[in-house]
């Protein structure tokens, strides 16, 4: 067994012993550790970024060691079950659902008759419809090839990446093209500030009659609300696949329905903010808000990366802070998320 695992179990044992097995104080640290390490061995190892940080048990060991105070360490440990990890199989399922439940009904939009829905060439008909749309994503982190592959989509125009700024003329389809619209996908959208800007610009640039569908695989409820209110997005259909509710996010102020221990976690986020947010050097793009970009307070990690809406104490490496799932970031300060 690795040194890290051994240390983690010893720590969990010590914490349980401290509580004296009084049911009022008792927290099943070892049980949670068993569960977390089970996830580590079956799923968390799919996290692709910063492999040099080591395997999950050693990262967890270092993460807890960030805090010299034992009570704070316990609080940090107790945050673990609240973290949602979207593994590879789940991402594929989101991509499938994006196509089957979101895109297809939008494409057919009530135009398919009974016969068409029952037709033996239904799949081909859908594909034909889809060919009348251009596929995009806002950033390169959306796995287009996976999306096409899991949904058996062949013969389509090559999907393109829009980028974070004003879409360049070369990227958007020309108005003369025989298209009916655009379908824009993205893997994760937090507050939506970047996505709204990009999509609003696209809405302005392309033909009015072209339909636009935006399908974030994962969208924070905060972002969903922002998008719903944004008048620039009139004429754009926003249909997320999975919405993360506010109660699953650790915001700076308490929200109704949030987890029972969130107040403790909140205090910890605030007390560690200075250390967590410190820049680690010129190549770093340190987060500005201890509660994640836009104060989102997300507790989400995907196998591809940790969004910057997620609490920095989970993903940011600083000179005095070792992260649990270190995020890879892009150069621009105003990243999408």
């Amino acid at each position: 067994m690795s040194v890290s695992r051994k240390h983690l179990y010893a720590l969990a044992q010590e914490w349980e012993d401290q509580s004296g097995h009084d049911p009022r104080d008792f927290y099943y640290f070892r049980g949670i550790l068993d569960e977390v390490l089970f996830h580590a061995d079956t799923r968390y190892h799919e996290y692709v970024q910063h492999r040099e940080e080591g395997e999950f048990p050693s990262r967890l060991d270092r993460w807890l060691k960030n805090l010299p105070d034992d009570r704070e360490r316990k609080t940090l440990f107790r945050m673990l079950p609240s973290i949602t990890f979207i593994d590879r199989v789940q991402m594929m399922s989101l991509q499938k659902d994006a196509f089957r439940r979101v895109i297809v009904p939008w494409l057919t939009a009530g135009s398919f008759s009974q016969d068409a829905l029952l037709a033996s060439d239904y799949d081909a008909r859908i594909l034909s419809l889809l060919r009348e749309y251009a596929l995009f994503s806002i950033t390169e982190s959306f796995g287009h090839s996976d999306f096409l592959h899991v949904n058996n989509l062949t013969g389509l125009r090559k999907p393109k990446i829009l980028g974070e700024g004003q879409p360049s003329t070369g990227v958007l389809p020309h108005r003369d093209q025989p298209l009916k619209g655009l379908i824009i996908l993205e893997d994760f959208v937090g507050t939506g500030s970047q996505a709204r800007r990009v999509i609003a610009a696209i809405r302005q640039s392309v033909l009015r009659r072209w339909r636009i569908l935006f399908v974030p695989l994962i969208l924070l409820n905060q972002g969903q609300q922002n998008m719903a209110k944004d008048k620039r997005l009139r004429g754009v259909d926003v249909r997320p696949v999975l919405v993360i509710p506010d109660e699953c996010c650790l915001k700076e102020s308490a929200k109704k329905g949030e987890g029972a221990e969130f107040s403790k976690f909140r205090a910890l986020v605030k007390s560690t903010a200075r250390r967590v947010l410190e820049s680690s050097g010129v190549l770093d793009d340190p987060p500005l808000d201890a509660f994640g970009y836009g104060g989102s307070g997300a507790l989400v990690v995907t196998c591809h990366n940790t969004p910057n809406n997620t609490l920095p104490l989970i993903h940011h490496r600083s000179p005095s802070w070792s992260p649990l799932f270190r995020r890879i970031h892009h150069q621009s300060k105003d990243g999408l998320r």
Binding site: M1, S2, R5, K6, Q13, G20, D41, P57
Partner: protein, 681 residues
């Protein structure tokens, strides 16, 4: 693929038992021949046998050895059958899992009702079920013949001395048996027979699955009479057609006991069909059934008559629990050797480690009560020790502390002895004189009965969980149930592994580590019953209430007046009288069958003609409730009404008898005792 950190492999994880049943190779590596003693050997003789025992006792493991493919693997690998059965006459064993086969569904959809526009006729439906089981077992026999005919069955064939296996000739012979009423006519090969047989079974299945609403005439008109085809198979094996010797046919029947549960209206009829096979006392076919302890015996009638199958006359009963608990604590107690052998095989085969048998008990080591007691007070001059003798006069207290030399165990036992004397009205001066003899040590049986409770009380005073460690502890906690034993060992091994300790390199394992593993095992056994076993939800609640009450009673009994009151006793005659009696009786029986309760006969100390039985929570639950796991003589004598209120009432159960001077835990205590308890818990 999943990633696993390099962890010391745990050879004890279940559900290997279920996997072993279907994998002859692994089975032969893991099966312990230690069980093949005494009455267990009857399973391998040409007689009808019913093997009973609680869940996890090892019934399936024992009966599995009878199956032709398993025995074949054994003989192929080792050259001969297991030593204890080597000298017995060879046999040919086929099997049926009644639920997997779909037999249990007959009657849920009535053939007679479907054919007669709603008019149900149980005898017709039973005849259909009988036909199904006839043909199902025939199918198993044909498949077994295929097995014998190819390379896999070579060694088995030799053991059976079968030297005339001609598939086509046999097919011709079998297809013409009268019992088939011409159904198999035209079949010339074994494969033909198999195909035709499977077609027939598929029709029954299709009907029960409500895919079809009628039974084809050809099948309807050729229903085989129960047992006739099996008798014909048995005759074939015994007639000299295949071999020069008579080969009895063994039929192993699994899942017999669940028939009434899965088929409330017709399940007992299906059981009666099986009973009829047993009652026939066929000289060439012998039935072997495994059932949980009290799931056998609820229906003993045969089909179509009120006569019953009779033990010793029609079948032999092997009670595995009895076999394994007999001579407990004495020479000749079988269970420890079985446990060692099973553990040894697991370690070497599943774990791929290498260790000798004598190492196995050493992994958990030994313990003495004094050693355990000292662990609760690692600091010799711990002032809390004084609470071990609270409640007794100061002068005696000092004297006892002097005599006991600060040994916590001696102090607690001494304190209990003194309190007992005081309760009996013995004068302080007399007690003072008598303590010099250290009667709590001198009276061996008095001491032995109280040690377990004393240790619980010491742990409680020290505000700690009790320690559970040592080979002996694991044996007793498992209650002679091999599945419980494996669970305990699995969890201890897991704890060691998590602490990066290799059990084979660092033994005996640390007591705390063993304790942690045992607590996990105790919780798991309890939760498994709750979440997975029939009636477990209710048992969880009821036994939870009872366990807590037993704990409260014993912990507060500082005089340890009634060391046996970790169990309770009822008159057998009360159990089945009235609604409450029936409900209590059923609950207790199911608890025993599912290895959540332990039942023993005992001789009543009261002057009464009635026989009594006593029950305890299964020993593995002792850690969960902090109650003793060793049995002392006299349980708590109670009534069915009281037991009913414990299990099914709304109020917290009051367990145990209030003795003079000692109040029940809910009642106000004398000040001294009260102080002792408050400080202790």
């Amino acid at each position: 693929m999943t990633r696993t950190d390099t962890r010391i492999r745990n050879p004890f994880h279940d559900p290997l038992v279920t996997e072993l049943i279907e994998d002859p190779r692994r089975y032969t590596e893991m099966f312990s021949e230690e069980i093949l003693v005494g009455e267990a050997l009857a399973a391998f003789r040409p007689t009808n046998v019913v093997v009973v025992g609680p869940q996890g006792a090892g019934k399936s493991m024992l009966l599995n050895l009878l199956r032709y493919n398993v025995l074949s693997e054994w003989i192929s690998k080792r050259g001969k059958p297991p030593e204890p059965i080597k000298k017995m006459a060879p046999f040919f064993g086929i099997s049926v899992n009644l639920v997997r086969a779909g037999f249990h569904a007959f009657g849920r959809r009535s053939v007679s009702a479907a054919l007669a526009q709603g008019q149900k006729d149980q005898s017709v439906d039973a005849a259909c079920a009988a036909d199904f089981i006839n043909h199902y077992l025939f199918r198993e026999f044909i498949r077994a013949l295929h097995f014998l005919g190819d390379n896999r069955g070579k060694r088995l064939k030799a053991w059976l001395t079968i030297d005339r296996l001609d598939g086509n000739r046999m097919a011709a012979q079998m297809s013409s048996w009268d019992c088939w009423y011409g159904y198999y006519s035209g079949c010339v090969t074994l494969q033909d027979l198999l195909d035709k047989c499977e077609q027939r079974l598929s029709v029954w299945r299709s009907f029960l699955n409500a895919n079809i609403d009628t039974i084809p005439e050809g099948i309807w008109q050729s229903k085989a009479t129960l047992g006739d085809p099996l008798h014909a198979i048995g005759n074939l094996l015994s007639s000299g057609t295949l071999a020069s010797r008579r080969i009895p046919l063994f039929v192993i029947i699994d899942q017999y006991e669940v028939l009434p549960e899965l088929n409330p209206s017709f399940g007992t009829t299906l059981q009666r069909i099986v009973n009829t096979l047993i009652k026939a006392r066929d000289p060439v076919v012998f039935y072997k059934i495994g059932a949980r302890t009290y799931d056998w015996g609820t229906e003993l009638r045969v089909w179509g008559a009120e006569s019953r199958i009779e033990i010793q006359r029609d079948y032999v009963l092997i009670d595995l629990a009895d076999l394994l608990m007999r001579n407990e604590d004495k020479t000749g107690w079988l269970y420890p050797q079985l446990a060692i052998d099973v553990a040894h095989k697991r370690i070497n085969v599943e774990g791929h480690f290498s260790c000798s048998k004598d190492v196995v008990p050493q992994i958990l080591g030994k313990r003495t009560p004094a050693q355990e007691a000292a662990m609760y007070f690692p600091k010799g001059n711990d002032r809390r020790k004084a609470k071990l003798v609270r409640g007794i006069p100061e002068s005696l207290k000092l004297r006892i502390e002097e005599l006991c030399r600060k040994s916590p165990l001696e102090m607690r036992l001494a304190g209990a002895w003194v309190l007992q004397q005081l309760q009996r009205g013995v004068s302080e001066s007399k007690i003072t004189r008598e303590v010099a003899e250290r009667p709590w040590s001198a009276k061996k049986s008095w001491r032995k009965e109280r040690i377990d409770i004393a240790l619980l009380q010491i742990a409680s005073v020290a505000n700690q969980r009790r320690y559970y460690f040592s080979w002996e502890t694991a044996l007793y906690l498992s209650g002679a149930n091999i599945s419980v034993f494996l669970l305990i060992f699995a969890e201890i091994w897991d704890m060691a592994s998590k602490a990066d300790i290799h059990p084979l390199k660092n033994y005996p394992l640390d007591p705390q580590l063993q304790t942690d593993g045992i607590f996990v095992a105790s919780d798991k056994w309890r939760n498994r019953d709750r979440n997975e076993q029939l009636g477990g939800r209710k048992r969880y609640e009821a036994l939870g209430r009872l366990g807590s009450s037993i704990h409260d009673y014993l912990i507060h009994d500082f005089a340890i007046s009634n060391p046996g009151h970790s169990g309770f006793s009822l008159r057998e005659s009360d159990l089945w009288s009235g609604d409450e009696g029936n409900e209590v009786g059923s609950f207790l029986q199911r608890g025993v069958s599912w290895a959540m309760l332990e039942e023993r006969i005992h001789t009543s100390k009261q002057r009464e003609a009635a026989t009594r039985r006593k029950w305890y929570l299964h020993p593995v639950l002792s850690p969960a409730f902090a109650i003793p796991f060793k049995r002392a003589k006299e349980p708590y004598y109670t009534s069915v009404n009281q037991v009913y209120s414990w299990f099914f009432g709304a109020d917290k159960p009051k367990f145990g008898r209030t003795v003079p001077g000692r109040r029940h835990e809910n009642e106000k205590l004398p000040q001294q005792l009260e102080m002792a308890l408050e400080d202790g818990h």
